[in-house]
């Protein structure tokens, strides 16, 4: 399941996971991105890579510059996080599908994982 039972995405209810900021600028920050096994081939097998960006959108664009094609595996054509992909920032699940509205800070750790969806 992608959505925690305590707070459906659509309600907009405040909860303790990563909050959303409007119009976050994409300045340079150092972030560690932890890749799932399925995407490590893009990074020559590395499970942890460095990227930068003050929003998830900018971060993924930077990741794509370093590892071409990886952004399309994480985001749908609409620009939203794919339905069965989950992103965590410092252990908090990103509940906002629009990555430009997800703030990233210097020193954050971003995990990209496939959702537990199989039955």
């Amino acid at each position: 399941m992608r959505t925690p039972s305590r707070a459906p995405r659509s309600t907009g209810e405040a909860f303790s996971i990563r909050t959303v900021l409007p119009g976050v600028k994409g300045e340079c920050v150092a972030v560690e991105v932890v890749l799932p096994a399925a995407l490590r081939e893009y990074a020559k097998g590395a499970s942890r890579v460095q990227a930068s960006g003050r929003s998830l959108e900018v971060l993924l664009a930077d990741l794509d510059r370093k590892f071409p094609g990886i952004r399309q595996r994480i985001l749908a054509d609409t620009g939203l996080i794919r339905e069965f992909v989950v992103v965590f920032v410092n252990g908090d699940q990103v509940m906002e599908g629009a990555p430009e509205r997800v703030p990233i800070q210097d020193g954050d750790t971003v995990h990209i994982i496939p959702s537990v969806a199989g039955g």
Binding site: G69, Q72, A76, T78, A117
Partner: protein, 361 residues
């Protein structure tokens, strides 16, 4: 992974859990070269001898669709980017249903049919894609609706004599054709029966072409397995002709043509409520453009309630033609004498969605 010897016939079976590649020198004894993309649905894969490359439509439900390619059929390389709609369209490519080379008239060109329905073109072997937007901007687009398999562009038939002409099939919409390299398209509905519409009158869209195949000797002739019937299109006539008479059921998905003009193969299934063979596995063959059908069962199982999906019938273009049928139950049946006798290439595979075959020169 064992290498695929040159001079073989190869059979590529796309399944819900990866791609299987078989090869044979005599089309009697088959060897498995390997299984690729384990656990990931492969909606179709084909080797194109003209281009010397195989392409596979690999559709991860988590990471999205991507075309992979291979010259050896054992080592696969992913394309740099998959076909993608623009952000403003609001659509996102969910699956690639088919990947087809441009053929003799358009060497070096690759087409992908996707869901939601659209056609993409690549000129760099699948590393980048451009939408053929003349099709998705067709006036009927707001009325396009999905069939049970989704709103998919599943069949791509480039014209071997003209790079500007092409026919595509979209479920559950219509057959479309272009004569100006995709700039504009028109529906090919003339002659289609319309008894499923409430008013029993022809409509512009709402048809359900399950599969199309072009006659190898007369490219102006196209066969169609429709939801309700098997049809033949002749350019000279400019309309579909129902050639279902003699089949045990007008319903089915897969369709392939033989190597000689006028021959085609279908596997009738029992209605859209059941979608299984009618108690036994039986293939129907025509050698006279659908005027008559022969029921072929020698070597095929009975009783059998098997499902053959829209990409589940393929032929290898050789003489006599080899025909291959992959089932959702994981079998692959083959004939090397045009259908008189059938064997089993493989059993207990993952559920099969597609099969293609051809020479690996």
């Amino acid at each position: 992974m064992a290498a695929v010897p040159r001079g073989s016939t190869v059979v590529l079976v796309g399944t819900r859990k990866g791609l299987y590649v078989f090869h044979s020198k005599d089309r009697k004894r088959w060897k498995l070269a390997g299984r690729y993309f384990e656990g990931v649905p492969v909606h179709s894969a084909r080797y194109d001898p003209q281009e010397g490359v195989a392409w596979a439509a690999v559709n991860s439900f988590q990471w999205g669709p991507l075309v992979h390619r291979s010259k050896t059929l054992t080592k696969w390389t992913r394309g740099k980017a998959g076909p993608a709609y623009s952000k403003k369209s609001g659509w996102s490519v969910a699956k690639i249903w088919n990947v087809v080379g441009g053929g003799p008239a358009a060497p070096g060109v690759l087409y992908a049919g996707v869901e939601p329905a659209g056609l993409f073109r690549s000129e760099d072997d699948g590393d980048s894609w451009k939408l053929v937007d003349g099709l998705t901007s067709h006036a009927t687009r707001p009325k396009w609706t999905p069939g049970n398999g989704g709103l998919c562009l599943h069949t791509i038939l480039p014209d071997p004599k003209s790079a500007k002409r092409m026919v595509v099939g979209i479920s559950a919409v219509a057959v479309f054709s272009t004569e100006n390299d995709g700039d504009t398209w028109k529906t090919m509905n003339d002659g289609m029966t319309a008894r499923w519409f409430p008013d029993h009158k022809p409509h512009d869209v709402g048809y359900c072409p399950h599969k199309l195949a072009r006659d190898p000797e007369d490219p102006n002739t196209i066969y169609q397995q429709h939801h309700w019937g098997v049809f033949r299109w002749d350019d000279g006539r400019g309309r579909w002709l129902d050639v279902s008479r003699g089949l045990s059921s007008s319903f089915g998905f897969g369709l392939a043509v033989g190597s000689d003009g006028g021959s085609a193969y279908v596997v009738p299934l029992k209605s859209d409520g059941d979608r299984t063979t009618l108690g036994e596995m039986a293939v129907y063959r025509t050698r006279n453009r659908g005027r008559a059908w022969q029921r072929l069962t020698t070597g095929l199982p009975r009783p059998a309630h098997l499902t053959i999906l829209r990409e589940g019938v393929g032929s290898d273009g050789q003489d006599p033609v080899g025909v291959y049928i992959a089932t959702e139950q994981g079998q692959v049946f083959s004939t090397r004498d045009g259908g008189d006798h059938w064997d089993v290439i493989a059993d207990n595979l993952a559920p099969a969605m597609s099969v293609t075959a051809g020479a690996y020169p």
